[in-house]
């Protein structure tokens, strides 16, 4: 009995342009597509993952070639010509499919490597598949394993630990300076898009109060309203420094708008509570020497870029470690699959031996009526010990990894022939 193949078909942000991904015939939820896949002849177990960056179908089948066409047909319909599909759709079998799934789960295949969101999406997709009972023995085990791999990667590497975008880097720095960000206030000087994004992140991290200072008050008021904050004019900048903790500056000014001498007296008023300046304007808005003041920290766009670069290099190093973990787990899972294949034979073999053993024991014990219970026990023990010892080598022969060139399928056949496992089954049936 040959084992089913595991097949994975999918498109993601790397292989497939958005125009093609948009044509996928997946409407909203998971229920309908899962049902539709279930009706395809030849698919045994299946599961479907659909996120904004990828769509993947994973299934087991005895007929990989026929089912592939049917699945692709279901996914794309007539929207994409068949010859184009090969270009866009990736197709993995067995071990490769397992490895790919593990990579996805551990966020090694994501647009932002290391982001944790994908695991949640994977779990949700699996929940639908298991509720609809479209996943069975193999996929259940495989998906649970993929969650486990993701967890291992997360705990054993630092892959998700560092900020790889400028606004994240700014938030991370703010946390290192202020600890908790609740009850802190941020001031946006100039209302650019980048400043807005950074402010959004900070508010997401609990920053309570947003002040917007801008040349045109109208724009300031508009942006302030978005964050439920207040708008001030640029002339009040220095007065405001007394009340805010984080300043994100992004004006289009050609010269500096704040000098060290402006900030120094403010620190006295602030009783030395720290100030964190983020200057993302080009040319720079803030005097570089501000960073020399005690309890004042100034990062400009290049500094932040350096942080991001450093984190990225670190993350790439960690990714190598993570890929090693994935490879390890893929191997383990493949072994499990192979054993699955051998296990019916192991069961049959043991059953046959046990039957012979029991039959002979009953025969013998029936004749020896004068034996006490203790002696009977000893005889039974001896008989099953003999069976176990004789079976030991054939069992090893089935299970072993190191087969000296004999294919597992062939070894299974040898054992079935030798012990006439199939003949016995047939004769019992008739």
């Amino acid at each position: 009995m040959p084992r089913d193949s595991i097949v994975l078909l999918g498109v993601n942000h790397k292989t497939t342009p958005l125009e093609i991904r948009e044509k996928l015939a997946l409407s909203g939820g998971y229920e309908d597509p899962l049902q539709a896949l279930a009706s395809i002849d030849g698919i045994n177990e299946h599961y479907l993952l659909s996120t904004c960056n990828r769509v993947e179908v994973l299934y087991t089948t005895a007929k990989p070639v026929e089912t592939k066409h049917k699945v692709l047909n279901f996914l794309f319909g007539d929207a994409v010509p068949e010859k184009d599909l090969d270009k866009y759709v990736y197709h993995y079998d067995n071990e490769e499919a397992i490895q790919h799934l593990f990579m996805v789960a551990s966020s090694l295949d994501s647009m932002i490597v290391g982001e944790a969101q994908i695991l949640g999406q994977l779990k949700e997709a699996y929940r639908y598949a298991s509720e609809q009972k479209t996943s069975g023995l193999i996929l259940n085990k495989l998906l649970h394993k993929s969650f486990f791999v993701a967890k291992r990667v997360r705990t054993e590497t630092q892959i998700g630990a560092s900020a790889v975008s400028i606004s994240y880097a700014a938030v991370e720095l703010a946390r290192k300076i202020f600890g908790q960000l609740d009850n802190k206030s941020v001031m946006l000087v100039g209302a650019g898009e980048m400043a807005e994004l950074a402010a959004e992140h900070l508010v997401g991290q609990g920053v309570a109060n947003v002040v917007v200072a801008n040349r045109t008050l109208e724009r300031a008021v508009k942006l302030a309203r978005r964050f439920n904050g207040q708008a001030v004019s640029l002339d009040e900048l220095i007065d405001q420094l007394e009340h805010v903790d984080i300043i994100i500056s992004s004006t289009g000014a050609t010269g500096t708008i704040l000098s060290k001498e402006d900030v120094k007296p403010v620190m006295r008023e602030r009783r030395n509570r720290p100030l964190f300046f983020i200057d993302i304007a080009v040319p720079r808005d803030l005097d570089q020497n501000i960073n020399d003041l005690d309890n004042v920290y100034l990062y400009d766009i290049d500094d932040l870029n350096n942080v991001v670069e450093m984190n990225r290099a670190e993350r790439d190093r960690e990714a190598v470690k993570a890929e090693r973990i994935v490879a390890e787990e893929t191997l383990k899972f493949s072994t499990w699959l192979d054993n699955m294949e051998a296990s019916p034979t192991i069961v049959d073999l043991r059953k046959k031996a046990d039957e012979i053993c029991r039959f002979e024991l009953e025969k013998t014990l029936g004749k020896m009526t004068d034996l006490g219970p203790k002696e009977q026990k000893s005889l039974e023990k001896m008989a099953s010990a003999i069976v176990a010892k004789i079976l030991h080598n054939p069992m090893q022969f089935l299970k072993t990894e190191n087969s000296r060139g004999v294919d597992r399928r062939e070894r299974i056949n040898i054992i079935r022939d030798l012990f006439q496992l199939d003949d016995q089954n047939d004769s019992r049936k008739t």
Partner: protein, 272 residues
């Protein structure tokens, strides 16, 4: 018996330190759990050591060099443990365990002989004055460690070059808070220690103050901390200057505790 306990607790502190260092480098949560438990175990063993030493000596075991340093290590360990109860400062344990091991090592080198108490020290002021002073030093040591951690972390943030410490040390705010808490406990205890010592001096030697080197230096130490605390509370001194001041003041503590005995002598010198 007490010496055996001392040795065991020394070894266990050492194990805790090793575990903490492994945690510091690897940042694996389960290693920290292990390190914490070992450190707590060491602290308990050390407590038994001091109790047994008390029973064997028949007086408070804070008179000889060995006893004082060992008690100092004990108070740092327990100041830290009592702190952990209330709030955590990331990776503080690593630094504390290193300092504790160093002190235990110094204590191990000093003579462990139990000497009869000289008459001047035979007073119930001994346990009070000595333990309060040294527990105060324990908190001040913790403040100093906080200061060192602050400077390490601040350096990396200011220079914008992130190395070993940036991700491993807590936020500047947390470290400054640690400094604040330790000072607000340590400074009153230090004051209490000096006042109790002065009252005891009146009873034992007939005058409140002798300008003996140890007394002079503890006064200098007190002034350093008083200045620091004053600046903190009035003009909101914090951050780097406060951290540097904390470290300098703690060096004065160490000098008062040891330097004075070796370099300047005086009536405070323990049996040596």
């Amino acid at each position: 018996m007490s010496y055996l306990l001392f040795q065991i607790s020394f070894v266990v502190y050492f194990l805790a330190m090793s575990a903490y260092i492994v945690f510091f480098v690897s940042q694996k949560g389960n290693v920290r759990q292990v390190a914490r438990r070992i450190f707590l175990g060491a602290g308990l063993l050390h407590t038994f050591n001091i109790i047994f030493r008390y029973l064997e000596a028949g007086h408070t075991p804070i008179t000889s060099q060995h006893e004082t340093v060992s008690f100092f290590a004990w108070s740092i360990a327990w100041c830290y443990l009592s702190f952990r109860w209330r709030y955590t400062v990331k990776n503080l344990g690593t630094f504390v365990s290193v300092l504790t091991v160093i002190l235990m090592f110094i204590a191990a080198l000093a003579s462990r002989e139990i000497l009869p108490l000289i008459p001047a020290l035979q007073s119930w002021w001994l346990p009070f004055h000595a333990s309060v002073s040294i527990v105060a030093d324990g908190f001040l040591a913790l403040a100093c460690i906080g200061g060192i951690m602050y400077l390490l972390q601040e350096r990396e943030i200011k220079r914008k070059r992130f190395g070993l410490f940036y991700s491993r040390l807590p936020s500047l705010e947390a470290l400054d808070k640690l400094n604040h808490h330790c000072l607000s406990v340590g400074f009153p205890l230090l004051t209490l220690g000096i006042i109790s010592g002065s009252i005891w001096a009146k009873q034992a030697w007939g005058a409140y103050w002798h300008w003996d080197p140890k007394e002079t230096w503890s006064l200098i130490t007190w002034f350093l901390y008083a200045a620091l605390v004053h600046q903190r509370f009035t003009i909101g001194w914090r951050g780097r200057p406060a951290a540097i001041m904390t470290i300098i003041a703690f060096l004065a503590v160490l000098f008062t505790l040891w330097g004075v005995n070796y370099l300047l002598g005086g009536i405070h010198t323990y049996a040596s």
